[in-house]
């Protein structure tokens, strides 16, 4: 099963390496990982997307907890939550294609953020599924480049992961 784990981490050098190293050492999957400092500059917030059965996920959360620099963590998938990912796609766009790509972007509420005589660069925000659907929808278009941020997640409602 796919799980989204949110982690508050001391914003210290080496702390991120410890998290990533843990996954490599113990053979856990990372589908994606995002990280940046929070409004409190001493803390970083990570969102980790991983896969595994219940026992593996339990070990992952316990092992993460053991890292001295991990302050708090929560498995967002346990409850209602929101996840977002940002993707930028550069596609070949000339002639008839330009109109078709534009229409497709509109349907996905994507934005064209850069234009050249032969290309469009499109930004899409949404769940990972939506991003994948958009790539599918572009199947008649030549994709030059795709860059994705990985998933960020947050709990719905009043629950929050904070000190």
């Amino acid at each position: 099963m796919r799980h989204i784990i949110a982690v508050l981490l001391e914003n210290e050098s080496g702390a991120l390496a410890r998290v990533v190293g843990l996954f490599a050492q113990r053979g856990y999957n990372i589908d994606s990982l995002t990280v940046a400092a929070t409004e409190d500059p001493t803390l970083s917030r990570l969102t980790l997307v991983t896969r595994g059965d219940d026992q593996v996920i339990e070990q992952i959360t316990k092992q993460l907890h053991k890292l001295i620099e991990v302050v708090k963590l929560v498995d967002l998938s346990d409850n209602a939550h929101i996840e977002r990912e940002l993707m930028m796609v550069k596609v070949k766009a000339s002639g008839d294609q330009r109109e078709e790509v534009k229409r497709c972007a509109d349907i996905f509420r994507a934005q064209i953020i850069d234009v050249s005589p032969t290309t469009y660069t499109i930004q899409v925000v949404g769940t990972s599924d939506k991003l994948e659907a958009f790539i599918q929808a572009l199947c008649n278009t030549q994709i030059l480049e795709v860059v994705r941020t990985g998933v960020s997640g947050i709990a719905r409602g009043e629950r929050s992961l904070a000190l």
Binding site: E10, S13, G14, A17, R18, G21, Q25, Q55, E58, Q59, K62, Q63, H65, K66, I68, E69, V70, V71, L163
Partner: protein, 582 residues
């Protein structure tokens, strides 16, 4: 502010040494080099913290480690950058696998050179990351006292482990001084290691034990580390539980007690493995269901309800699912169990099922007859088991026994009946050959009046033989029992059992004359080749109180360690000798 209250100004190097002293450190084990010269100069200029110069950094780590195992306090290592630090890696991993508190101070090249592939630069933060509880690099000399405090706090609290402190050379420059103030304690918002255990879970565990018909107490290294032998022993006696200890837990419950059923696992006793397999309640205390204990996890103890106390939640339900998990330090949890038991007793409540237990003990006593630690006695050849029994007699069972890794280690574990905790000192998790001699040195240095015995093999001893020189320098009168079978015996045993006795590189040709070698290092060497020579040799060795005596004891080269679990089987599937299996 008066003059006296002004904090003293010290260099980074001097602060480090002073902080160690303020932490109560008496000895540091290490080896100098470029990156730590300022620190060594600071050590030279004071007398509180003494430095022990080993002959190889690995030995420094094992000395510190064994000191920690015997005393419960973190041992301290000091090594230089690059090769000094990498030589310490095996010792750090050894401590990590057995959860031993240790602080390893590694020199590093100057901050501005880090990343330039400077002379003797290695990324020790990166190298050590998977084998430490934590590591830290000093960025500002003024932080040194706080970081030392933090290192000891992390190493010694919760589930203990090694902590590496990486110190670039420019953090210790003698001319740059900073106000010194050693923090009394430290709090980390991200680390709270003092779990006491959930009272509700503890109650549930006690009820389960009281109702059990075939219980067993399976205790591990956590009881030794957590200094909870007394509580464990009292609880076991009051609940009339058979007790088995892991390799790491030997001595936590007295081996001479009638309720002790021996070690469990791969080379555990027949009765311990049978009791585990047939138990209806397994009470696991500070043990981690290691693969050398459980054998095939799918076949593990099919009928048991499992209660598991551990300070590390990640150890609970990792390989074997626990029905009643209790996260907490073993000592307060066992104390809570005892006090709940007192309350039940006062109400004349919570009675044991005496009939069921009597039947269970009957069954256990029958199992005890099956193998009973028997081994073949030979007139012409010394048996390793007999040597360990003789050493036990000569030391009245009261020695600190360190060991290396191999058959000799298992014989020592099986036949030296440990009645006290912290006396059996071996590398259980990593299985590090070369551990035994430096470990014995670390213990002897701190307990000079105690008998310290290193049980080793001719293979293992040669992995850190150079330390005989350190022993001479510091007058460390340890007794080395070299169970010389001329083979990497444990490897040979597996080759006998699984590879039709094809001894691929398990025979050591050209062994040194260990007696002459010991003498060359300034010690006493005694060779024993026949059973008659053993008693007088031990007599002589233990009479030489302050001398290191190297007993090179030639034993039956063909002997195997039994019982031995059948690989891939259940706990109770065992070979009992070369010709018998369950």
């Amino acid at each position: 502010m008066s003059q006296q209250n002004q904090p003293e100004l010290l260099s980074g190097g001097a602060m480090l040494v002073r902080a160690l002293h303020d932490e109560g450190v008496e000895y540091v084990y290490g080896y100098p080099g470029g990156a730590v010269l300022h620190i060594y100069d600071a050590l030279f200029q004071q007398n509180d913290v003494k430095h022990v110069l080993v002959r190889h950094e690995q030995a420094a780590t094992h000395m510190a480690d064994a000191y920690a195992r015997a005393s419960g306090k973190a041992g301290v290592v000091l090594v230089t950058s690059g090769p000094g630090a990498t030589n310490a890696v095996t010792g750090i991993a050894t401590a990590y696998m057995d959860s031993i508190p240790m602080v390893v101070i590694c020199g590093q090249v100057m901050s501005h050179l880090i990343g330039d592939d400077a002379f003797q630069e290695t990324d020790m933060m990166g190298i050590s990351r998977p084998i430490v509880k934590h590591n830290m690099s000093v960025r500002n000399p003024a932080d040194i006292p706080m970081m030392v405090k933090k290192a000891f706090y992390i190493a010694q609290s919760g589930r203990p482990g090694p902590v590496v402190l990486d110190i670039p050379k420019d953090m210790t420059i003698p001319s740059q001084k900073f106000p010194y103030d050693y923090p009394k304690d430290i709090k980390l918002r991200s680390y709270n290691p003092n779990a006491k255990g959930h009272p509700g879970q503890i109650k549930k565990a006690l009820q389960t034990l009281l109702a059990a018909k075939k219980p067993v107490l399976y205790s591990g290294g956590g009881v030794i580390l957590g200094r909870a032998s007394d509580e464990l022993t009292e609880l076991a006696r009051r609940l009339n539980l058979p007790v088995t200890n892991t390799l790491m837990g030997l001595g936590a419950y007295p081996a001479s007690d009638p309720q002790f059923i021996g070690m469990l696992g791969m080379h555990g006793s027949f009765e311990a493995n049978q009791v585990m397999h047939n138990a209806d309640v397994i009470f696991a205390v500070g043990a981690r269901f290691d693969d050398r204990v459980t054998n095939a996890t799918k076949k593990f103890c099919p009928n048991a309800t499992i209660i598991h106390i551990d300070i590390d939640p990640a150890s609970i339900s990792k390989t074997i699912n626990a029905h009643i998990p209790i996260v907490g330090l073993v000592k307060p949890v066992l104390q809570e169990m005892l006090s709940q038991l007192d309350k039940l007793d006062a109400k004349d409540d919570g009675k044991l099922d005496q009939v069921a237990l009597a039947n269970w003990w009957n069954q256990i006593n029958q199992w005890r007859e099956v193998h009973g630690g028997r081994y073949q006695q030979r007139a012409e050849l010394l048996m390793p088991q007999a040597v360990i029994e003789a050493v036990h007699r000569h030391t009245k069972g009261d020695a600190y026994v360190t060991s290396d890794v191999g058959q000799h280690q298992m014989f020592a574990a099986q036949y030296y009946k440990f009645d006290k905790p912290n006396r059996w000192i071996n590398s259980g998790g990593l299985g590090t050959m070369g551990f035994g001699l430096p470990a014995a040195m670390g213990v002897k240095l701190h307990y000079p009046d105690a008998e310290v015995v290193c049980v080793t093999g001719e293979g293992s001893i040669q992995m850190n033989i150079q330390e005989l020189s350190t022993c001479k320098q510091y007058g460390l009168g340890v007794k080395i029992i070299n169970l010389n079978n001329g083979y990497l015996g444990m490897v040979k045993q597996w080759q006998d059992m699984n590879y039709d006795s094809r001894y691929s590189s398990s025979y050591m040709d050209s062994l040194p004359d260990f007696v002459k070698l010991a003498e060359a290092y300034g010690h006493v060497g005694i060779r024993v080749t026949t059973p008659e020579e053993l008693e007088p040799a031990l007599e002589r060795a233990f009479a030489l109180k302050d001398r290191l005596v190297f007993l090179d004891i030639h034993i039956d080269p063909k002997e195997h360690v039994y019982p031995m679990q059948v690989p891939g089987g259940a706990m109770n599937e065992m070979f009992l000798s070369k010709t018998e299996r369950t």
